[in-house]
Amino acid sequence: MSRIKRISKELEECRQDVQSGVTLELNSESDLTNLTGYFKGPPGTPYQGGVFQVDIVIPKEYPFKPPQMKFATKIYHPNISSVTGAICLDILKDAWTPILTLKSSLISLQSLLQSPEPNNPQDAEVAKHYLANHKGFEETAAYWTKLYASDGDKFGSGAKNDAALYGIDESIVAQFENMGFPRDKIIEVLRRLGVKSYNGVSNKAELENKILEELLKECS
């Protein structure tokens, strides 16, 4: 059982290393193949201040095959699915080599947060947002970090801003709320149409009509 020896060595090394800022924990003391990793969002990014949790499953062929990793913490990033947490990173796929470790993989994830690759996305919606409106993307990513990845108070009573969650400009929501449409329907329609803001929209009136039409259908 070569992988068991190596995993326990890696765990021990990671426990002794306090500098890397990466933590590895066993999900159950009797099973060395199901782990959880934690690391902090890199400073200077919208993920700063967040602690991200990664589910790790170690395949039979480890270390000759990569560990399976996915984000357990919801995160808004072009290379990570905002729904499932699936990660698009070469070293976790075909660029894996056995000298890489669980620790080094988690550090690679940390640096993926630092430098997203929107042209090779896992989540096309998020990547589109990143490329079309970088500032808007950063705001949403920071909001998700605050909401899902902040240490402690994870399920705080603070009211979630549902518009910010999907990166939708609050002013659009307010515009249609003033017309008397319910907030949840507005957000549903805007999400369906993929509208986040009026920035870069060539024909605003036409888009407004389209949203109105959908809302009327939705609320009839």
């Binding site: 059982m1 070569s2 020896k5 190596r6 060595k9 890696e10 062929e61 270390p63 000759f64 095959k65 075909d94 894996w96 080599t97 056995p98 000298i99």
Partner: protein, 141 residues
Amino acid sequence: MKVKIIDWHGVSSWHWNLVSDNQNESEYVDELCGICRVAFDGTCPNCLYPGDDCPIVLGAGCSHNFHLHCIYKWLEQNSSKGLCPMCRQVFTYKESYPIVTEELTNLQNLIQGHKSVRESGREVGQEADGFEDDGDLQMSA
């Protein structure tokens, strides 16, 4: 004072004669196999006895060394593409062994296998390059 030796036990130690990266460093450093993370003087995780039963392989193209059984398992994976796990150069080893064992022959076969896969891939790649060149010529003309 006279000492009479009644019985004695000989004890010897050994280690692989690896050249340290640092030439000035005369001190022997017991390095780890990058794949299994066990010292070279120890065994790979599947062996009981160190030494000739679990030999090490020295990289020839690069200077990276591994337990024979570890690098063999890696090169067995198609995903390895025959590359050194450390530096991703094509892995070849120094043929400095007095006896060629079956294990070494198998390793050599694996390396050859990856080489032929690479070469058949390269032919396809070259054809594609050729087309691109034509395109460039047309563009400039």
